[in-house]
């Protein structure tokens, strides 16, 4: 390397820093500079693609790791004590010995860190060395290099099923339409294919793409972590700017699917890629118990100081009382003695060292271990496992398990959380006429019954033939086996195969057309609203069409192992591709092979089947390519049945499938065109002019197409009814006929009915755009798209400009079915004393009905509805209601007659109610409500609600949701639970715990939450007790040794005592103790209430245990003292029985506390005692002079030869534990707590237990509970509460409303991303 001027180097580094920090980056191709030295490279300032996630380097490991570790308070405490011990005047032990604890802790942690870092290093290396194809000018082609060689400005080629190595600006794909499909499952878990397109107008898709011809400048923004946002433009040599956004960006970690190959320009590499920027560490939350615990640790510190001061003052006074110079006072080397005051001062520090165990540092380590154990059991619970998705419980936050046992408020999302998020097309209204789709409803009922009776779904003949996929025949084929086996589970397994594509269960895909509507369509002509309606359903979406046979291999999470096979796979793919040109006719054979192999797997039921499955899927992967290669010519001939729709939201898929049921089949979608097959068999190719994507402010989306026959520009818009109704083209204008006017109001009427039924509604409109209008709009649009500043706002503005004067075609009602056992779960949670709130973006009517269906609202409830337009009204309503509710509350006679109060509030009112001046009143009102339903709320409002309740009421909150719109809420709550449902993984990634079904919440909270909480709470209390009881022995001894800081127990044995002899039992207790069985906890949800509020770990229990510890230590000290007083006992001979006695006391104390003894308990308890004797005996036999002055040689042995030793052990232990034992016995006999009563039930046989539970419920829960149990879920058509509704928020009111509602239909919100 050439020598360079250091000034130049510094200047260059500064320039690099500036280049990286600039808001806009200018990137050029590396190719012209290939082979030049580094300083000549234009993109040298930007980091390369090699990643390094390790924290340490080999050389600097020790200093850096130590530095990291000393950030912890606990370690500093240890170091402080060790240093103190090196000061000769205050040391309590030999200085070297005092180093043991800190060294042990530091080295263990360092080992763990080193191992973790090594793992990271290995995975980094694997990733960095994965091969990829980079263009080289010298070779004039793509050559194979490693990921780490990729630099910003390179051209990278990715082939099918390969993972993208860096963030690429897509320049070329093998697809003639310039489209590349990717799967982002690695990034956000969304498994549907997403379409990316080449930057338009840059590289005209030559038969061969030549990177060397690329001579533009790519200007892009600074790297950020928003996965859904990217702005950039390319400046061509002729100074024209071409805008590009996320639709042209291939993110690192994505997998290329169904596209033979693609070439991209690297814009961000390595740590600047979006996926790496999104790679946050694990979340750290502090649980409420831990916060409480820290307060008690401070008490312990105070206690420690008090004891040290007592000792210091005592030493001082004792020294003053000593006459003359007794021979036992040792002067310093100069022969002088310190003054009593000074000695007392030194003694204070000596005592801190001696009594250091009082501050339970080891408690923190133990708590962490206990939580790991608890999480192990939670994640391994088979009841929290969902077979449908093959996913169990995931714990992301490792340290808030016990919070699950204290939840007081649950905030739940509706769509996808309470409901399946499987959208089923139910009804539609076209031109003011309602089509109820009765046959379809019957089919759904059949399906439902089949499922509820646990029968084989495929035994029913749900399919009527016309919408049978090729793929569907596969489960049909398998069905024979299931029939023989008669197992429901297996049939579910086979259903799995279909689940590859989201939103495509038979429930969702099959729609039986309404007969009347079918007739209507068959009569319709070319230009007909019916035709337009279905065209709009088919076109107005972002659904990607793929071939049914193109089953994709699921990539595992960004794992390098998945990647390592790739080169081989790539080669075979290429070979296969060539082959497929000749063998396309053999396709069915492969298909057959796949089927038969999977069948074999099912039949054999064996564990090795995974390997086989892998193989079959590989075959599938190959086919993907072979099919694709043949695509242009085969597309036309491909049977429409082979189509699969990859939708980003379930609503879209449901509508496309509905359109397909009526013969309007979406055949293909490219960036420029949409092909739809009409019922007549004719294919219409619409030129796709523009797509106005959904956003949460507009709450609608549109597509602008050019009609192939009329050549008109047509805008189809679909969206939330209230968003659309405002934009209808002056429905009352003169040029519309009377009937037209009615359409809007009729449709609105139908929409209201749908909502009452709990259906999700969408309005479909059409608008013909004149050429002139289009031309002017399109200019603006171009400008907006190329803008880099405020691009979103501008783009949205143009969309709003076009979406005016729409004419209404009709509306659709899509059902979102409740998940199984949701009502059960909600009732149980409520019995457990948890307030359940549902926050949804749906219309109030829909929400209320779902509320009744899931038993959130009961028939006899008093439902208060709050919906007002301005703050004054809101205030008065709030005051009135509060007044009324208070009246109910205050009147004691009303206790039984008072109906439960439920509150329904809409987003707009919520904003007002949460304003600072009304906040308190609102919270006060909700506190008195049994359940609260918030409708039409935005993600931000959701989190606001959670925050307000959490802060005002100081309660433990839990938020549960499944979509991106719940992320804010999940993060705001104390506990965030994500449901890994159909809508991507964003909620799961933000959550602390991830479950797969709402019903799992019941066991998670009632059983695991309760267990985790009681276990940990009792373990912590025990830990405090243990430390105090043991340390006090030393303290009492100070009264007999002139407060001189003498320890009568060997220091090593003291360390071992805490480290080995008594550490495992409490940890085991914290992990495995079971106060009440899971069955009882589930049967009697109210047992959960014991943990709420302060629960079992509170001020009272803490001090009781401290007092008990004082008592026990007194007994443990003074009984041996009285035995040995005036005898010739040696100091350590006296300490040995003391140590033994306190071991027995401490372990037997735990035995009293342990609620259920399993084998593990026995082994650990007995093992601990055995370990004590073995280790102490061995230590006493080996150590002759190793630890002066204690010198434990042969002490325990000689003690054990003395019967007195055993006598002391028995009597002291009995006397020490009697009070606690008696306390438990008396309490359990006279006033047993509910938990103890429940525990009694546990001992009964199942049938008697069942009966007792029922009696208990009726006794405790009163008549009401029984009633609500026996009554069937009310039908959606409830009179009273719903009427209250229609009175207040009529359709007219909605339409008049000028207020801009921040309400969004739930499932669309994902576009907003978590950043909002």
């Amino acid at each position: 390397m050439k020598w360079r001027n250091p000034v130049d180097l510094v200047r260059d580094a500064l320039r690099g820093q500036r280049a990286r920090d600039k808001d806009l980056r200018n990137l050029v191709s590396n190719l012209p500079y290939e082979g030049l030295e580094k300083s000549k490279q234009p993109n040298r300032h930007f980091p390369g693609n090699a990643i390094k996630t390790t924290k340490y380097t080999l050389l600097l490991f020790i200093p850096v790791n130590l530095f990291e570790q000393f950030h912890r308070m606990a370690n500093l405490y240890f170091v402080g004590l060790a240093i103190l011990n090196f000061v000769p005047v205050v040391n309590a032990f030999q200085p070297e010995v005092a180093l043991i604890p800190i060294c042990a802790i530091l080295s263990l942690t360092a080992l763990k860190d080193a191992w973790e870092d090594f793992r990271r290093y290995q995975s980094d290396r694997k990733l960095n060395n994965t091969p990829c194809l980079i263009y080289s000018r010298k070779e004039v082609g793509f050559i194979e290099r490693c990921w780490k060689d990729v630099r910003v400005g390179d051209f990278v080629k990715v082939v099918c099923n390969e993972i993208v190595p860096a963030d690429l600006l897509l320049l070329y794909t093998a697809d003639p339409d310039g489209v590349c499909l990717i799967e982002t499952a690695n990034l956000d878990g969304e498994s549907n294919l997403k379409q990316r397109r080449v930057v338009p107008g840059l590289c005209i898709s030559d038969p061969r793409f030549e990177p060397e011809s690329f001579n533009g400048i790519v200007v892009c923004e600074k790297p950020n972590n928003n996965l859904n946002h990217f702005k950039c433009y390319v400046e061509r040599p002729d100074e024209e700017k071409v805008g590009a956004g996320l639709e042209s960006l291939l993110l690192r970690g994505c997998t290329v699917r169904n596209t033979d190959h693609a070439v991209g320009f690297v814009v961000y590499a390595g740590h600047e890629t979006k996926s790496m920027l999104n790679n946050g560490g694990p979340r750290y939350k502090r649980s409420r118990l831990e916060r409480r615990l820290n307060v008690d640790v401070i008490f312990c510190v105070i206690l420690l100081f008090a004891m040290c001061i007592v000792a210091a003052v005592g030493h001082c006074l004792w020294l003053q009382a000593v006459p003359g110079v007794p021979p036992y006072l040792v002067p310093d080397s100069a022969g002088r003695l310190d003054s009593p005051a000074l000695s007392g001062f030194y003694m204070f520090f000596t005592m801190i060292i001696l009594l250091q165990v009082l501050i339970p540092i080891s408690l923190y380590v133990s708590i962490e271990l206990v939580k790991i154990g608890q999480i192990f059991f939670i994640t391994n619970d088979i009841d929290l496992y969902d077979e449908g998705t093959d996913s169990g419980m995931q714990c992301k936050a490792l340290n808030i398990t016990e919070d699950l046992g204290q939840v007081q408020y649950i905030f739940s999302d509706k769509t996808g959380t309470l409901t399946e998020n499987k959208m089923v097309f139910r009804r539609c209204s076209i031109m003011g006429v309602e089509y109820p789709h009765k046959e379809n409803a019957i089919r759904l009922n059949v399906l439902e019954e089949a499922e509820s009776e646990e029968e084989i779904i495929f035994n029913q003949p749900p399919r009527t033939g016309w919408s049978m996929d090729f793929e569907n025949s596969e489960p049909e084929g398998r069905h024979h086996h299931h029939h023989h086996h008669g197992s429901r589970r297996k049939s579910k397994v086979s259903g799995q195969g279909q689940k590859d594509v989201a939103f495509s269960s038979p429930l969702e895909t099959d729609v039986i057309p309404d007969r009347k509507l079918l007739q209507q369509i068959s009569r319709s002509q070319e230009k007909d609203p019916y035709l337009d309606f279905f065209l709009a359903l088919a076109i107005c979406n972002t659904v990607v069409v793929s071939m049914a046979t193109a089953r994709r291999r699921r990539a595992s999470w960004f794992s390098p192992s998945g990647r390592t096979n790739n080169p081989l796979e790539t080669v075979s793919t290429l070979v296969k591709k060539v082959g497929s040109l000749f063998t396309s006719g053999q396709k069915p054979i492969h298909q057959h092979l796949t089927v038969s192999k999977s069948d074999m797997v099912i039949e054999e039921d064996d564990l090795s089947s995974e390997g086989i499955r892998e193989k079959t899927e590989d075959l599938d992967g190959l086919e993907t390519c072979s099919l694709h290669a043949a695509s242009p010519s085969h597309k036309e001939s491909a049977a429409s049945d082979n189509l699969r729709y990859e939708a980003e939201s379930p609503d879209e898929a449901a509508l496309v499938y509905a359109a397909k049921a009526y013969g309007f089949t979406l055949l293909a979608r490219t960036p420029d065109s949409v092909t739809v097959r009409l019922p007549s068999g004719k294919d219409l190719v619409f030129e796709l002019v523009d797509t106005l994507a959904f956003d949460s402010n507009r709450k609608r989306m549109s597509v602008l197409v050019r009609h192939p026959i009329t050549r008109e520009y047509v805008l189809y818009t679909k969206g939330a009814d209230y968003a659309i109704m405002e934009l209808l083209g002056t429905p009352y204008a003169e040029h519309f006929s009377g009937s037209e006017k009615n359409i809007a109001s009729d449709t609105q009427h139908h929409l209201d009915c749908y909502a009452k039924e709990g259906l999700r509604t969408l309005c479909i409109t059409k608008k013909v755009v004149s050429d002139k209008e289009y031309m002017s709009w399109s200019l603006q649009r171009q400008r907006a798209l190329a803008a880099i500043e405020q691009r979103e706002e501008l783009v949205m503005e143009t969309a709003v400009q076009l979406e005016t004067n729409l004419s209404l075609l009709g509306a659709t009602g899509v059902e979102d079915r409740l998940q199984e056992n949701v009502p059960d779960t909600i009732i149980a949670l409520r019995e457990a004393g948890i307030q359940v709130w549902v926050l949804t973006g749906d219309k109030p009517e829909t929400a209320v009905n779902i509320g009744y269906a899931c038993r959130l609202l009961e028939e006899e409830d008093l439902v208060i509805n709050m919906s007002c337009k301005n703050k004054a009204v809101c205030t008065s309503i709030l005051d009135c209601t509060l007044e009324e509710v208070r009246r109910y509350d205050e009147n004691p006679q009303n206790v039984d007659t008072t109906p439960n109060i439920s509150l329904v509030i809409d987003g707009r009112t919520l904003v007002m109610a949460l304003s600072p001046d009304l906040e308190n009143r609102f919270v006060d009102l909700t506190k008195r409500c049994r359940s609260v339903l918030c409708c039409r709320v935005t993600p931000l409002q959701k989190s606001k609600v959670v925050k307000v309740v959490r802060e005002k009421l100081k309660v433990m909150t839990l938020a549960v949701g499944d979509g991106a719109n719940d992320v804010n809420m999940i993060q705001a709550a104390d506990i965030g639970i994500g449901i890994s449902g159909q809508e991507g993984m964003q909620a799961v990634m933000a959550s602390d715990f991830a479950i797969s079904r709402f019903k799992h919440l019941k066991k998670l909270l009632l059983v695991h939450g309760h267990w985790c909480y009681t276990r940990l709470a009792n373990m912590i209390i025990y830990f405090f007790y243990k430390n105090v009881a043991y340390v006090n022995l030393l303290f009492w001894y100070q009264f007999f040794c002139g407060f001189s800081g003498t320890a009568m127990i060997d220091y090593w044995l003291m360390i071992f005592f805490n480290l080995f002899f008594t550490s495992v039992p409490p940890i085991m207790y914290g992990i495995m103790d079971k106060d009440v069985s899971a069955e009882i906890l589930l049967g009697l949800p109210e047992l959960y209430r014991t943990g709420q509020g302060t629960g079992e770990y509170n001020f009272f229990t803490f001090w009781i245990s401290i007092l008990d510890a004082f008592y026990q230590s007194l007994v443990c000290f003074f009984i041996p003292y009285l035995v040995y007083v005036d005898s010739d006992v040696g100091l350590f001979t006296f300490g040995t029985p003391l140590n033994t006695v306190s071991l027995f006391t401490i372990l037997l104390h735990l035995s009293i506390e342990i609620k259920s003894w399993t084998v593990v308990h026995w082994i650990i308890q007995v093992g601990s005692v055995a370990l004590y004797f073995i280790v102490t005996l061995a230590y006493s036999a080996i150590c002759i002079t190793c630890n002066p002055p204690s010198n434990p040689y042969w002490i325990l042995q000689s003690q054990m030869a003395d019967p007195m030793f055993y006598l002391i052990c028995i009597i002291t232990t009995v006397v020490a534990l009697l009070p606690r034992y008696m306390f438990h016995v008396i309490k359990n006999s006279i006033a047993p707590s509910p938990l103890i009563q429940a525990k009694l039930l546990d001992r009964l046989d199942p049938s008697a237990r069942e009966r007792c539970i029922r009696e208990w419920r009726s006794f405790r829960g009163g008549v009401h509970l029984e009633d609500s149990r026996s009554s069937t879920p009310p039908s959606p058509a409830l009179e009273i509460p719903v009427e209250m509704y229609t009175k207040s928020t009529g359709a007219a009111e909605l339409m008049e409303d000028e207020f801009v509602l921040n309400v969004i239909t739930d499932n669309y919100l994902r576009h907003n991303g978590p950043g909002t």
Binding site: D390, K1074, L1122, W1157, P1188, P1189, D1202, M1204, L1207
Partner: protein
């Protein structure tokens, strides 16, 4: 609820349905109610009662006699004398007499006792070198820093045995006489060795071994602790197994007492000859004390204790628990 099936491929992530992982291990959950606990209590009470009765009987059969001699009779003079450090070298003897009314049956142990002497102060306890006591040559010449300031004398000679513990050794000696009649004075034979733990005498305390050198040669170049009158190798010149570091009195003293009031074994009655074959007969006794240990400096008291042994206690290390201790507590407190 229980789904016990083999694990098929598609359910790969399904947790094991084992009793351990599902927290369904068979468990014994005792209920602490009066009903279940009372029988246990009765059994416990019975055991304690029996133990208590037994202990009571044994304790009653032991005999003990304490004799404070700090300022008793002629010893008062010596007491005054020892107050003055400069007279330390002067010998002082005194005699105390006492009456044993009831004969001591069996083995009789002779202790000296100190009150208010804190052998358990941390600094005092630390002030010793076990390495030196175990016979390491390096420690002999270079005593541990813990011994300071009793590790070297003014001339820089190492002290053996070093430290405050050894320095403050109890150095009174006793001659025990039985006055069978006014004229017949029979000296009571005391076994003065075998009063230490076996492990102490043979393992923890050893004289440095240096080839064929005599003990005096071995300790050459060291000096005795400042309070001592004679070097360590002259503690018992007659008996090489009781001289130097393995002197029984030194070993007994070096095992620090747990409490400020303690006693330490001085000797055991030798029952070989009459009239002591059955123990100490009743009658008049006297003890002649070579009064060396200064007690007034710490306001302490010195005593002589004679006891017989109970069935428990490991002779000669431990003794009877005496009148206090667990006995009153053995009856269950309910």
């Amino acid at each position: 609820m229980v789904k016990a099936k083999a694990k098929p491929g598609p359910l790969a992530r399904r947790p094991d349905n084992s009793a351990f992982k599902q927290q369904r291990l068979p468990a014994w959950s005792p209920m602490l109610t009066a009903h279940t606990v009372l029988p246990f209590f009765y059994i416990l009470a019975l055991i304690c009662l029996l133990l208590g009765v037994w202990l009571l009987l044994t304790v009653q059969s032991t005999q003990e006699m304490k004799l404070f001699y700090t300022e008793a009779k002629t010893c008062a003079e010596c007491f005054e004398k020892r107050e003055n450090v400069s007279l330390a070298a002067e010998e002082c003897r005194c005699t105390v007499t006492f009456l044993i009314e009831k004969a001591f049956k069996g083995d009789v142990f002779f202790y000296y006792g100190l009150k208010n002497f804190h052998q358990n102060l941390r600094r005092y306890m630390d002030s010793r070198d076990d390495g030196q006591m175990v016979g390491r040559k390096s420690n002999l010449k270079n005593p541990s820093l813990y011994c300071s300031p009793f590790s070297q004398d003014q001339n820089g000679l190492p002290v053996a045995p070093c430290g405050a513990v050894a320095n403050s050794i109890f150095n009174d000696s006793f001659t025990f006489t039985y006055h069978k009649s006014a004229s017949q004075n029979i000296p009571v034979p005391l076994l003065r060795n075998g009063i230490t733990w076996y492990t102490d005498k043979n393992i923890k305390f050893r004289n440095p071994r240096m080839g064929n050198l005599t003990l005096d040669q071995v300790f050459e170049g060291t000096t005795h602790p400042p309070y001592w009158q004679k070097p360590v190798n002259e503690l018992d010149p007659d008996d090489p197994t009781n001289n130097g570091f393995i002197n029984d009195d030194l070993i007994v003293w070096m095992r620090e007492a747990a409490f400020p009031n303690f006693k330490k074994l001085y000797g055991v009655l030798c029952r070989d000859n009459k009239p002591f074959t059955k123990g100490l007969p009743a009658g008049n006794y006297s003890i002649e004390i070579t009064y060396n240990f200064p007690a007034q400096r710490f306001q302490g008291r010195k005593q002589v204790v004679l006891t017989t042994l109970t069935w428990f206690g490991d002779p000669p290390a431990a003794t009877a628990a005496g009148h206090s201790g667990p006995v009153p507590r053995t009856t269950p407190p309910f």
